[in-house]
Amino acid sequence: MDNTTNTRQDNKAEARLIMEGITVNYGDFVANDNVNLVVYPGQIKALLGENGAGKTTLMKVLAGLLHPEGGRIIVDGQEVSIDSPQDSQRLGIGMVHQHFMLIPKLTVAQNICIGLKSTGYPFPDVRKVEEELSELSEQYNLLVDPKAIVSTLSIGTQQRVEILKALYRGAKILILDEPTSILTPQETAGLFDIIHFLTKRGNSVIFISHKLNEVMEISDRITVLRQGHVTAELAKQETTERQLAILMVGREFQTEKHLKPVPENAKELVCLDNITYIDHRKVSVLNGINLTVKAGEIHSIAGVDGNGQVELASILSGLLHQTKGKFTLNGKDLSKASPKERLQAGLAHIPSDRHKYGMILDLSMEDNFIIEGSEREPVSHRGILQKDAITSFSENLVKDYDIRCKSVKQKASTLSGGNQQKLVLARELSRNPIFVLAMQPAHGLDVGATEFVHKKLIEQRNAGSAVLLISTELDEVFDLSDRISVIYEGRILATIKREEATRENIGLLMTGKTNG
């Protein structure tokens, strides 16, 4: 494929940023292979690709966090070497990470002063900064109060704080890494307004995403990356979502799902009875959750982040103890059971934060596969690990779940996000659970991996397991569920059958609005 397709080659001299032939290797793994990227002033450039395609690597090069083995970078017509984040900042490159780099207890202005000697060192002139920030915020229509404490701000606002921070530091090229993954639909719309506003004033935006609809909506031009290569560089008008999807994953994928309805008399495998949790600040986080999941059913809990979902999942997996209430699985009371007893009773847990709860990045895939079963035969025999058994067990899982890796001895951290999630799924589902607790199982995954995760959950359902899916993504909820419950401020506001639910009524319930 021709990597240098560029319709505006003639006026490259006007480009704000040119990356040419960027090559980055991690050991013998090529993360970026001769990648080209051109961004003009006032342009919105989408960088599209699956997780692990090399988008983040490319941006790390720009941010000065990685030094490429080959290639050159030209900013405003000058060839530059970016050796540190400071260099990157000086060149007018600003990055808004997927996870915000803000200190919750400080104000917006204080956060922005951190690490910026120009605001006064060692004691920054916060008042002056506040004034300048209000001005800047107004100018770009960001609606940020510089005096607000960060922890009191919504996620969307915090993201705008990050944008403001980049602008204050003189960013002319703004990189947004998966900016919509944590936003509500309304917040996403607001972000897009801001992006347009920015580009109208001559700033360039690099929009990193794997969401096709958003890319089609917002960008001017699209660069598609796949396995470290640029597979296409196109104007939005020249392409379709379907074509982009193929360029991105290298094959067509199917979205149709055939679901047999759950029989009315199916056994209620999971019963939550009045689960209540009051945290150490005496805040009532969960208020009497009542819920059942039947055998062969996917029951979704929809809701905006922070309405008690994390606590509910922790309580069900045994990491947190409910203040009161009862949890039974297949007739067995597990209210006070240890995590181990829950696993033995047939629970599988796919946590939302897999790095924190689901796996150990620093260890090999083998070690990650046996974390729950290290005491069982044939993984171990009388307390001694059986290396050969572990290897063949791991290799089977790798095969069954199509995990892309060089060897089962490689560290989990070297896998892409999608493959990491497959690792967790492989381990959890291989135990033939009767209850699958999945929280945001496709969070941060690309189209292909998301599809895979969904397929596996449906397989579990069809095999007769009870699946409880906690998700903030309406698409996912509507694609998979048999029943949908909406959680708001620790309460289940309603439980609706999939056929009877509409996006409108679920969306309203998620914001706490019950009919009437």
Partner: protein, 366 residues
């Protein structure tokens, strides 16, 4: 679609590179030692002595005679034992800094057994002393975990504090209830012959503890690398939450790791009391408990690495006094070299970055 699953060729290469990487780690350790010796040489020059002469004396004092080798190994023994224990605790992310106190209480417990049952035959008395020492050390370690779990008291702080409590308590014991009658010194009566670990190399002090140590190195290696317990320690240490979620009993792991660590530190105390001093004395350890922790880190939390690091530190410490007697260089210069090794080693990740920064700043100036 490219199928990049494992095949034999790939995994062979992968393993090969893995080996290479871990051995480069090993060579880095040697590099750190050499660099520290080089800096040490500069310091020795500044003092006004001849570094070659000094290092010759250092070598002669640590490996130059049978006696020197015996003394090096003797000094390595408590360092290695403490280091092995610390390795297990650190792998579980339990920061046991209480090894010094555990060593003291272990030595004292062994002494009490030796003094109470002097007539027991050696093959009974020595194991009994070892059990008492290990039990006392383990209990003291376990106490730290108990405080951590029950009262959320950081084990690093509470073990350090316990060191003081224990060392003063032991000092009181050897000046009071178990003091040698008629002696002005803080020491107990000499153990009976049966309570003394026999010497295995004639005309030196090298005692049979070295054999026990080598066996323990192998056992620790086996436990950590081949057993479910070792695996669960590793997993818990790397990610406690994920391990808990996966049904591993993390409290049990914390306790057992600390018991193990405390037991080995206690055994180190018994070796010092029985094998070297032949009695319990007030200053039974000159910081072996702390140096052992450093040895664990230098040995990269690997039992065999710990043994090598302990021998290195033992050699440096023993050789230092030779340097002092023969060339007149204060032994503190050697202490400096010792800790330079550690700093260079721990700071290894900073060096490539410093190097790069140095070069880029030079480029920019040019």
């Amino acid at each position: 679609m490219v199928n990049d699953h494992t095949n034999n060729k790939d995994s062979f290469y992968h393993r090969f590179f893995d080996k290479l990487r871990s051995s480069s780690e090993f060579f880095y350790s040697i590099g750190a030692v050499l660099l520290a010796l080089l800096i040490g040489a500069v310091i020795i020059c500044l003092i006004g002595s001849d570094p070659i002469k000094a290092y010759k004396a250092l070598y002669r004092g640590s490996f130059g005679t049978t006696n020197a080798i015996a003394e090096t190994l003797l000094r390595a023994m408590p360092l290695a034992l403490v280091g092995l224990g610390a390795t297990v605790a650190f792998r579980a992310s339990v920061f046991n800094v209480g090894t010094e106190g555990q060593l003291f209480i272990g030595a004292t417990a062994a002494a009490c057994v030796a003094l109470a049952l002097p007539d027991l035959p050696r093959y009974l008395l020595l194991p009994l002393m070892a059990l008492a020492a290990m039990g006392a050390g383990a209990l003291l370690g376990g106490l730290a975990i108990f405080l951590k779990i029950k009262f959320n008291a950081n084990e690093m702080i509470n073990t350090i504090m316990m060191n003081y409590v224990v060392i003063y308590f032991v000092s009181w014991l050897v000046h009071g209830p178990i003091q040698q009658p008629g002696s002005p010194l803080g020491q107990t009566e000499k153990f009976s012959v049966n309570g003394i670990i026999p010497v295995i190399l004639k005309r030196t002090r090298l005692h049979a503890g070295i054999i026990v140590l080598l066996i323990l190195v192998i056992i620790t290696y086996f436990l950590l690398e081949k057993t479910v317990w070792g695996y669960q320690i590793k997993v818990t240490g790397k990610n406690m939450l994920a391990s808990k979620a996966a049904g591993i009993k993390v409290k049990r792991i914390f306790y057992s790791a600390m018991f193990f660590s405390g037991a080995l530190a206690g055994l180190a105390g018994m070796f010092e009391a029985s094998g070297i001093q032949n009695r319990m004395i007030e200053n039974i350890s000159s910081g072996y408990g702390y140096t052992g922790i450093v040895v664990a880190l230098l040995g990269q939390l690997n039992p065999i690495g710990v043994l090598l690091a302990a021998i290195l530190f033992g050699a440096l410490q023993v050789g230092a006094s030779s340097m002092e007697t023969m060339v007149g260089i204060p032994s503190s210069a050697v202490s400096m070299i010792q800790y330079l090794i550690v700093i260079i080693f721990i700071g290894k990740n900073a060096f490539p970055r410093l190097w790069k920064r140095f070069h880029t700043s030079k480029d920019k100036r040019a």
